[in-house]
Point group: C5
Chain length 100, copies 5
Amino acid sequence: MQIARVIGTVVSTQRDPSTQGWSLLLVEHLDVQNQPTGKFTVAVDALGVGPGEVVMFTSGSAARQTKITAARPCDAVIMAVVDTWEVGGEVAYVKGESEA
Amino acid sequence: MQIARVIGTVVSTQRDPSTQGWSLLLVEHLDVQNQPTGKFTVAVDALGVGPGEVVMFTSGSAARQTKITAARPCDAVIMAVVDTWEVGGEVAYVKGESEA
Amino acid sequence: MQIARVIGTVVSTQRDPSTQGWSLLLVEHLDVQNQPTGKFTVAVDALGVGPGEVVMFTSGSAARQTKITAARPCDAVIMAVVDTWEVGGEVAYVKGESEA
Amino acid sequence: MQIARVIGTVVSTQRDPSTQGWSLLLVEHLDVQNQPTGKFTVAVDALGVGPGEVVMFTSGSAARQTKITAARPCDAVIMAVVDTWEVGGEVAYVKGESEA
Amino acid sequence: MQIARVIGTVVSTQRDPSTQGWSLLLVEHLDVQNQPTGKFTVAVDALGVGPGEVVMFTSGSAARQTKITAARPCDAVIMAVVDTWEVGGEVAYVKGESEA
């Protein structure tokens, strides 16, 4: 899984019927020090998260292992909101403190 | 999923029988600011999109989760046309405004 | 899928029994302007292609969706010979014209 | 599989129900000389490992081939603790000697 | 598939029960001219290969399509020993001639 920040939303009306009901979010991958890496992914939101939230998403066939994505053409799904993470014993991120 | 622009088409007559009926499009990946990244993919068109359109494609085994690609050797499929996306509250792309 | 040129062959006698019958080709990935990228892959030949030909190959679990590769340890398979492709309305490659 | 060092932990309370019970660890990929590469992954811990330990993790659909991850949205799982590895006949890492 | 040289071994006693019996080898990816690329992978040995041998390995779900890896958390398996390969009609590698 990768840690990423929700930076935007994608709107699409003409799409494969199997994707109806999906909320599509743009997430930017973060490094271990909570800095953006410049890489981004469009992920299906399985939780109902908001803009600026730090989340984890899972990729590949694993992304179809949630109710909303099962047997659908999804290769990335947000499956957790991150509360905090630490690196080498030091806190790198705490929800609510470092969001823009 | 990744956002990309349809930049061309690929024609092939000698191909695996399982791929008959596919329309093969060349798509160039875009970054969050709607700039080309120099990366490209040949994707199956599940929607009937046109040249210059901005689309989303899904990769890996997820690309076989549409009617046209099920149980076929497809690793990338266009499954949505993008109407608009926004980053940090600002619109980065609107269909019909920024296409060449 | 990716576009690539067949640049060589790989010979192996000691190999997993499930791979018997495979023809193994070395392919170099091409960019949209028909230039080599320096990346290469060993792909199973599902079509009977020759040296120098420009082909498409599919990767990942999709590479097991042909008769010759089904349920075998194949992660890349050549499933089409490219006749031509165009980018932005201009022809980038025509079979028989740009091959060395 | 990749070799990596456990460098931290990730805490998440709001997450997909299918992920309950997972311990989520931050691992940094190592090169063959036991140096960090700057790449990291969040992996599910299938073994009960501790901070600083050098482990192997498996990615993709293989990451769902353990009891704790089967049929769940996991794309990376720690499935071994590394005791030692050698490169070209020379020991590159021995557990307990090179950990910080 | 990728071509690689066996450069070492990995020893692990504490590991997921499903991985028992695996021989774990460190392989370094080679380019088409038989030069190391600096990229490496830990692969399961399905053949019984030795140090310095040039092999092919398969990645992703394809790595579970051998007897020793079926339904186990394996994302890379050595499934062939390379005898020779040629690029553009010239021999790039012959087993027994270019090994250190």
